[in-house]
Amino acid sequence: MAACQQPYSQGKALYESACGSCHMTDGTGLAGLIPPLSGSDLIRTRPDLLPCIIQNGMEGKLLVNGQEYDQVMAPVTGINAVEMANILNYIQSEWGDPGLFYSPDRIQQILSTCGSGPVNLGNTGAE
């Protein structure tokens, strides 16, 4: 691993191809349509929700940093638990809580609890 600054270089590459189109390469999202990951209260306070959001997508109203969002997020297909761990470790280390760590086993365990259908927080956010 070449760079010490960003230990999740593979996660970064996966993030950019699987998530970056909508959440942007710099994690800033799009205005009031697509919530940011950078500085997001949700990714710090609800880390166990993120694997389910990636696997099942999301719908309904959502609060991030006090701003309301209401666009559908499609499920992200074609990534396995190891890749998802890489992506989420990159997201947390870059924009969230760098102390959080997802192992592939933990991802597997969370994914088994997601149920089916998109995540819907019903206008709640980080609480």
């Binding site: 189109s21 909508c22 799009l30 205005a31 349509l33 969002y69 209401d70 559908v72 499609a74």
Partner: protein, 205 residues
């Protein structure tokens, strides 16, 4: 010693300056294949169109009379390049917020799903004023056809993510309905150059 330092600083300063592109504007060419008929040169021109925007108002060529405008093609559920292009369109919108002679025009290419109420919600999410940025829908064939006049691709393609194939270009149209510049709407640096072109075209008029 002091002299050497200032001389070196001067040389570095000079080399930085000389690498800069020339300031100011060159006249933007009219893009597209021209047609020479006798003494006349005919340039490709955006044809007549009528679409409907997020406030259920008709938008046609007259909407842009005396103005220049920037065009793109998108759809709301787009999982690929659209959000990045929209982010750059929003940059253009904000950069020229105080310039009423510039208007933005985004066409949905998914007319079945992107209804007027959905376009309205999308516009509210972007936080934009309708008279400055029209999000339009219309007859599918009309939109796919006019995309070609804007040097853009828009078509249905079940094999691509989201089901529609399209280019992420932003296109700049002048008061005479001519295409004067375009850029890659997914690339911030390309859009930087494009925004200079917009300013140059505004200064031209």
């Amino acid at each position: 010693m002091k002299t050497w330092i200032s001389l070196t600083a001067l040389l570095i300063g000079f080399s930085i300056l000389s690498c800069r592109p020339p300031e100011g504007c060159q006249v933007l060419p009219i893009l597209g294949n021209r047609d020479i008929q006798g003494m006349d040169t005919l340039y490709p021109t955006i044809p007549d169109f009528t679409f409907m925007n997020q406030d259920s108002q008709w938008v046609d060529n007259e909407t842009f009379a005396g103005k220049i405008y920037v065009v793109d093609f998108f759809f709301i559920s787009c999982p690929t390049i659209c959000p990045k292009v929209k982010k750059q369109m929003l940059r253009v919108y904000q950069a020229f917020a105080a310039e009423p002679r510039l208007v933005l025009l985004s066409h949905t290419i998914d007319v079945r799903h992107d209804t007027v109420p959905r376009l309205k919600a999308y516009a509210e999410g972007l936080g934009i004023a309708t008279d400055r940025w029209h999000l339009v829908t219309g007859a599918e064939d009309d939109i796919y056809q006019i995309a070609g006049n804007y040097f853009s691709v828009a078509k249905k393609d079940p094999s691509v993510p989201g089901g529609f194939d399209h280019s992420g270009r932003l296109i700049l149209i002048d008061e005479q309905r001519h295409v004067r510049s375009f850029c890659d709407g997914t690339d911030a640096e390309s859009v930087d150059r494009f925004m200079k072109d917009i300013q140059c075209l505004l200064d031209e008029n």
